[in-house]
Amino acid sequence: MDTKDLIKNLSDSFGVTSFENCTFPLIEQFLLEINQDIKLEKIGIGNLVATYGQGNPKIAFFAHVDEIGIVISNIIDDTFARIEAVGGVDPRTLVGKRVCFRTENGEKLGVIGFLAPHLQKPEDKDKSPSFDELFVDFSVSGGTKDINVGDIGVINVEAKDLENDQIVGKAIDNRAGVAVLIKSFEYLQNLKFDGQLMLSFNKGEEVGLVGAKGAAEYLQPDYAVVVDVTFGERLPENVESFKIGEGPVITIGAPINRCVYDDLVKTAKDNNIKYQIEAVPSRSGTETDIVQIVGQGIKTGLVSVPILNMHSPSEVVNINDIDRAAKLLAMFALNMSLKTKGSLNV
């Protein structure tokens, strides 16, 4: 399976929080292409779980499927409507963009326009619009008569190639994670993995880590690894920064079980997989924070794919990092199963 095609398809898929069902069929299709012998089910609030193999150890990989977006909150008149964020949306990223809404009657195009410089007051040039000032113009798609409060939309862009194995697209947060899970399943086909692997594609991360909590509670794995994205930008002076293209980021810190961190690092070293390290003092901001403390506690780790421009329609990822993370996860699963069977001395 070509990683570039995989991530581009996933990126283009519409799956804003509460509409993850729109992306699930694509994920199911990719998984079945790899191996028909998986059990697919929906659990809890509707997370998609794919189960492969049986017995021990039970290993679960988590990746949230939902992306941030916008929702119509009020219709102003025949042409214009007001919007609200779904998840953490920077209103500045919406200015001058085409947006695409999912309505009862299909897709509907709108524009978030901006007053031309000629008509602006000098003192307004330094003010950034907030959600209270933004509006959507539906002139090019027949006006507001067929759009309703509650209709959900995304910025209308397509994934494209950049230089040096990089892709730019929307929703790389967290379709990159979804891609890692799918590719790790592919890698595992060539390994003698003797345990149960569960891939949990979760809903609702962007609005409170909602899906992962229920999924973890239901699955109760022996080991869990959450896959998400992290920042490839320069961070404040007192924390390590990461570079895209330098490998997945393995996290150590409060929401991580030390033994899982140690195993992930050892797996990376033993298999010559490039990696970077992140120390998290309290919260990681990912599903890890909730998975670790579900029920009687789950041994949890976090692997992140570094990206640029998080939470904008122009997120950038290096596909080699996706492949490296996938290989890391597959080898980790193999090592855990060998350890459990007593054939690996660690």
Binding site: E237, N238, A279, V280, Q292, G295
Partner: protein, 348 residues
């Protein structure tokens, strides 16, 4: 009584790195309790069989203290740190620290001669911790990302006062150890089947206690804390949370939770019955593991009893020893005397 307080407060143990504290506590309770369990989050659960086995009581105090984690190793060998739990950056300028409880380190402080603006707050982004290394390579030999950094503080006791770091919440742990000793040495049984939970990761979001409770499945709980006083000359009395010297603190409400009426009254009545001077927590800000327990499984009602301390979440906190003793007496009474719970049980 109080024989463990010095050791407990001097041990290093930030959230998720409580292992040294846990080992110490485990070695002190071995042989004195019926069962010891360590769960996936590192909670240390000590079970003591009670007189009435129809109910399970959980007594909870957290082992973790606030501190820092090494989050960067700079090219010049200095370290970047991030706070674990709420530590105001203003208390750490020029402070002495310990890395992994072993390596000495200091927070570098720009000399007054060279600093143009001494009114400026130095934030974590700029803070550099120096342990004597002169390069990243050298530092990386002895320090790792994720290493624990704690205040370098030694315990002092004089007259009726004690001074140390981490009274929040080693004071709660100390009281639990004292009660376990009391029960063991006097060959007694607690009122109900009792689980003493030495919890982890409270300071970073009440993360450990729910996991322990999921294993214990208690009917109710008592949460022991070291709580804020705020009674200093810069803070007017109506803004004090508590006053050290006014006795154990009984909470009626804090962040995220109103204490169940019947539980609150049970604790107040026990204090009155013992003629212990007590006080109410007079600010509702700040939370405890009780808020997490209320939202765990079927909902575990918890009461909160605290020792008031000045300057918590800093390198030096102060408590009044009478307050400690009276808090111990109050909690001991609630743990060992079934009569205190008659009205509570009747209401259910």
């Amino acid at each position: 009584m109080r024989k463990y307080l010095k050791d407990l407060t001097e041990l290093p143990g930030i959230s998720s790195r409580e292992e040294k504290v846990r080992e110490y506590i485990k070695s002190q309770v071995e042989g004195k309790v019926n069962n010891i369990t360590i769960d996936n989050l590192g909670n240390l659960i000590c079970f003591v069989k009670g007189k009435d086995s129809s109910k399970k009581m959980m007594v909870d105090a957290h082992m973790d203290e606030v501190g820092f984690m090494v989050t960067k190793i700079n090219d010049d060998g200095t370290l970047g740190i991030s706070p674990v739990g709420g530590v105001d950056p203003r208390v750490i300028k020029s402070q002495r620290l310990k890395i992994e409880g072993v390596l000495n380190a200091v927070v570098n402080s720009t000399p007054i001669h060279l600093d143009k603006d001494i009114k400026r707050v130095i934030k974590y982004e700029e803070i550099k911790v120096y342990a004597g290394f002169s390069s990243k390579e050298e530092a990386s030999k002895k320090v790792n990302l994720g290493d624990m950094v704690t205040f370098d503080t030694t315990y002092v006791e004089e007259g009726n006062y004690a001074l140390s770091k981490a009274f929040d919440d080693r004071v709660g742990c100390s009281i639990m150890l004292d009660i376990i000793d009391y029960i063991y040495e006097n060959k007694l049984q607690p009122a109900f089947d009792t689980y003493f939970n030495f919890a982890t990761q409270e300071e970073v979001g009440l993360r450990g206690t729910g996991v322990a409770a999921a294993r214990i499945k208690p009917d109710f709980a008592l949460v022991l804390e070291g709580t804020t006083a705020g009674d200093n000359p810069e803070n007017p009395p109506e803004k004090w949370a508590t006053h050290i010297g006014n006795g154990p603190v009984i909470t009626f409400m804090h962040s995220g939770l109103v204490i169940k009426k019947e539980m609150f009254e049970t604790i107040v009545n026990a204090a009155k019955a013992l003629n212990i001077k007590f006080q109410y927590k007079m600010r509702t800000a700040g939370g405890t593991n009780a808020a997490k327990l209320a939202k765990t499984m079927y909902g575990i009602p918890a009461g909160v009893i605290s020792v008031p301390c000045r300057y918590i979440h800093s390198p030096l906190a102060i408590l009044n020893i009478d307050d400690y003793n009276n808090t111990y007496s109050l909690v001991k009474e609630l743990v060992t005397n079934n009569e205190r719970w008659v009205n509570y049980e009747r209401a259910h």
